[in-house]
């Protein structure tokens, strides 16, 4: 199918519908969704558990920033992209890709390809 077949992608997204949508997109790309996690603590636990190929992080999680998850991922060498409606990555992560909401399937695919390329 694609180069992304079987990729284990962590999804951290606090909006259920958006998370479901992202899950479907990843499913369509042949990826395996880890999560989705809607809270900082859940996301952080999954990030620290390991076994991830990539991650897509919503920046704002019900009022909390997902920065700590991003730090954990960076520490674990897991490539990841932010997803946000804000249009700006958190301070200290200027080099990370940003997927602007609302996004299309192609956006997700391109971001993942870039992350792994």
């Amino acid at each position: 199918m694609t180069a992304l077949e079987g990729l284990r992608v962590l999804v951290v997204e606090d909006e259920p519908i958006v998370a479901m949508c992202l899950e479907d997109i990843l499913d369509g790309l042949g990826c395996v969704t880890i999560g989705p996690a809607s809270r900082l603590a859940d996301g952080l636990a999954l990030a620290q558990a390991g076994g991830l190929d990539a991650a897509i992080l919503d920046i704002n999680l019900g009022g909390e920033r997902s920065t700590r998850i991003a730090e954990a991922l960076r520490g674990g060498g897991v490539p990841f992209a932010f997803a946000s409606g804000y249009g700006a990555v958190p301070e200290g992560f200027e080099n990370q890709p940003l997927i602007e909401k609302p996004y299309r399937e192609a956006d997700i695919q391109a971001a993942l390809v870039r992350l792994l390329g």
């Binding site: 606090d14 909006e15 259920p16 519908i17 958006v18 998370a19 479901m20 949508c21 479907d24 997109i25 989705p36 996690a37 809607s38 809270r39 704002n60 019900g62 946000s84 409606g85 804000y86 249009g87 602007e100 909401k101 609302p102 996004y103």
Partner: protein, 714 residues
């Protein structure tokens, strides 16, 4: 007088009679013979010599002649006798008492019947008094003559036609004409045309009634120059009283006139200067308390000028308004009594217009060397304009002081070293300091270093470019709070335009800045929510329009879901995205599905949930209701849905919510979990952080939610 001759010659007939007559005469009489012997002398003769008669006949006259006259008299006597004619002698002889007497003698030849010369008969008058009078007269004339010719006064005599008949040198010098030019010329011909009329009148009157006069007039000199003279004029008369001319004593007064003119000019200049400066003067003669006012003093008080320019102390006091009168009177009286000068300001009411004016007056007593105070001198001038200006200034100061005190804005003045010299109460209110804790301090004591640097840079800019500078600066309040001030400052300049101070006006922008930041946050949040909402809509679209979906059913489902989303948003908007009531969220969500027909039974406490949770809950309820209408209890008229929630107590408060349908057709477990189910089971569970379970029980679908009570719940 002839020397004595040989005695006794017979006297002619009637000799006794002659002797009798001769002796009674007051003059000396003697008779001589040809041999010059005296044959007779009378009593006056004997008495003059003071010797007996016989001695008198032979007395040698030469012995008593004054030495100064002796030579002349002897010569004249010899010559007279030799002429045989009557001759006279006059000279001084010593009388028997030793006194020198002037005697005037006349000797006449005597002849006999045949006409032969037989001797002389002489008479001598004592003319001493007449002679001395004549000599004295001659002396006086000589003195007068010397005086006239050498006098500093000029003398000129004119006849009744005014023609010069006599002038002295000095007159020529004064009048500027040579004596020869003047003789025969009339005095009017050298008189200034402007003085002729008056001169003529005085001259004619003097001649007519003999009245002397003194006047000043101008002569036109030969060189056309003009000389001012003072002439004292009197008529001169002949012994019979008939006037024949006029004598003038002339003094040159040109210099005096010039001095006077110059003095008058000086006085006039001074007077004009004083009046020009608006100063009115008055002088008071203290012994009589009568005062002389300058004309403009009357004007100043609005009084008519009196012809003699006299004004009294009361005239003045009456014009002063009642409130100020006693003060002025006291100052004046103390000055007059004790010599204490005064400077006072008071109001008067003008006599003519009734207008109130302010005057300033200075008074001094003039004390002379003998310490008699005789004069008081005062000057006054109108200071109304200045007073009004002062008044306005005072009002203006009060006004500005009020503004300074009352302003909400901050007003700070500083030296160029940024030492605070004054602040208004608004500053103190904002900073929380007392005035003494601020005034005299450096502004750096109230702000951080970087802010001081900003302020210094602005000051440098003003010093080099002038104008004012706007600055947003952070200031520290006494309690450490950082305040944001917006200031506008400029330099205070002196008369020469040199900067002397720094003035700043400012206002606290802390709240405004906070509001601004808040607004920015809101806009960012709104942007985020819109984007988020769009992401949700996109998700709904993706889930609703699957490849295998019935397009019409999918569209209806989409509309329903979008509508539920929209309802939830409406509620959140109404609640300003704050916590919302759970009952309201559920009620709104079921309403489109027959909620208003009483088919839903809602039961639970009044709990509130966070906005984001509310959206998930609303969408979940919507999905459940849609399913109930399509396949469940609400697909038949008798079917009902009960929604019950409760707050369960435990270690942490928990929410339990149960959706249960009944009265509907038998429920079958669906072969495939659709969007709705996933949305409820996973989405809401994730959102709530709890568990959501849907049971497809045959008697009716049941959904059980167990979750920690959301934080927003009160």
């Amino acid at each position: 007088m002839a020397p004595p001759e040989a005695p006794i010659e017979t006297l002619p007939t009637g000799e006794d009679e002659f002797r009798l007559i001769a002796d009674s005469a007051p003059v000396a009489v003697w008779v001589t013979r040809l041999n010059r012997q005296r044959s007779f002398v009378n009593r006056a003769y004997v008495e003059f010599l003071g010797v007996p008669y016989d001695e008198a006949l032979v007395f040698d006259w030469r012995a008593i002649i004054h030495p100064e006259d002796a030579m002349r008299l002897l010569q004249e006597s010899i010559a007279g006798e030799a002429s045989l004619e009557t001759f006279s002698l006059e000279g001084r002889y010593r009388r028997h008492d030793g006194e020198w007497r002037w005697l005037n003698s006349t000797s006449s030849p005597r002849r006999d019947a045949e006409g032969r010369h037989i001797g002389f008969i002489g008479v001598a008058h004592d003319v001493t008094e007449a002679k001395e009078a004549e000599l004295a007269l001659r002396d006086r004339e000589a003195q007068l003559s010397a005086y006239i010719s050498q006098s500093t006064a000029g003398f000129a005599q004119v006849d009744l036609d005014g023609r010069f008949t006599l002038v002295n040198d000095r007159f020529c010098e004064i009048a500027g004409w040579h004596r020869d030019d003047l003789m025969g010329r009339t005095m009017l011909s050298i008189t200034h045309p402007d003085d002729i009329k008056r001169n003529t009148g005085l001259f004619e009157r003097a001649v007519a009634v003999g009245e002397p006069y003194t006047h000043e007039k101008r002569y036109i000199r030969k060189d056309d120059g003009i000389v001012w003279v003072n002439n004292s004029v009197s008529v001169i008369r002949r012994p019979d009283g008939e006037p024949f001319g006029v004598l003038a004593v002339t003094l040159d007064v040109t210099k005096r006139r010039e001095d006077e003119a110059s003095l008058r000019k000086g006085e006039e200049t001074l007077r004009l200067a004083i009046e020009g400066a608006g100063m009115a003067t008055w002088e008071l003669d203290l012994p009589t308390m009568t005062g002389q006012w300058s004309p403009n003093r009357f004007d100043l008080l609005g009084l008519p000028r009196t012809p003699d320019l006299r004004g009294t102390v009361d005239d003045w006091l009456e014009r002063i308004v009642t409130d100020d009168r006693e003060m002025a009177r006291t100052a004046f009286e103390r000055c007059v009594a004790k010599g204490k000068p005064y400077t006072i300001e008071y109001r008067i009411r003008r006599a003519d217009t009734g207008e109130e004016r302010w005057l300033q007056s200075h008074g001094s007593r003039v004390d002379y060397a003998d310490e008699r105070a005789t004069r008081f001198v005062g000057i006054s001038f109108d200071v109304t304009e200045r007073k009004h200006a002062e008044e306005e200034l005072r009002e203006s100061e009060t006004r500005y002081r009020t503004m300074f005190e009352q302003a909400n804005d901050f007003i700070v003045t500083m030296t160029l070293d940024q030492i605070i010299t004054s602040v208004n109460p608004a500053v103190l209110g904002s900073l929380g300091y007392a005035e003494h804790e601020v005034v005299g301090r450096w502004i750096g004591d109230f702000m951080d270093e970087d802010q001081v640097a900003l302020s210094l840079a602005a000051l440098q800019r003003k010093l080099s470019e002038g104008g004012s500078t706007r600055l947003t600066i952070n200031v520290r309040a006494k309690d450490g709070r950082e305040l944001i001030w917006e200031t506008n400052s400029r330099l205070g300049l002196d008369d020469q335009g040199r900067p002397t101070s720094l003035q700043a006006i400012g206002r606290d922008m802390t709240e405004a800045k906070r509001a601004e930041a808040h607004q920015k946050l809101l806009i960012d949040e709104l942007n985020h929510r819109v984007k988020n909402t769009l992401a949700i809509v996109q998700g709904i679209v993706q889930q609703t329009f699957k490849a295998d979906a019935n397009p019409r059913a999918a569209r209806a489902a989409f509309e329903g879901r979008l509508s539920a989303l929209s309802e939830a948003h409406n509620l959140l908007t109404r609640e300003f995205w704050g916590p919302v009531s759970m009952a309201r969220i559920i009620d709104d969500a079921v309403a489109p599905h027959g909620g208003d027909a009483g088919r839903f039974e809602l039961e639970g406490p009044d709990l509130t949930i966070a906005p984001k949770t509310a959206i998930s809950l609303a969408l979940a309820i919507h999905e459940l209701a849609t399913n109930a209408v399509k396949h469940g209890a609400l697909s038949v008229p008798e079917g009902r849905v009960a929604i019950q929630w409760a707050k369960a107590s435990g270690n942490e408060p928990r929410l339990s919510l149960i959706w249960s349908e009944h009265g509907g057709p038998p429920v079958k477990t669906p072969s495939k979990r659709g969007f709705g189910t996933r949305m409820i089971e996973r989405g809401l569970a994730a959102e709530l952080g709890g568990s959501v379970k849907i049971e497809f029980a045959p008697e009716g679908l049941k959904c059980v939610v167990e979750a920690p009570l959301p934080e927003a719940t009160a």
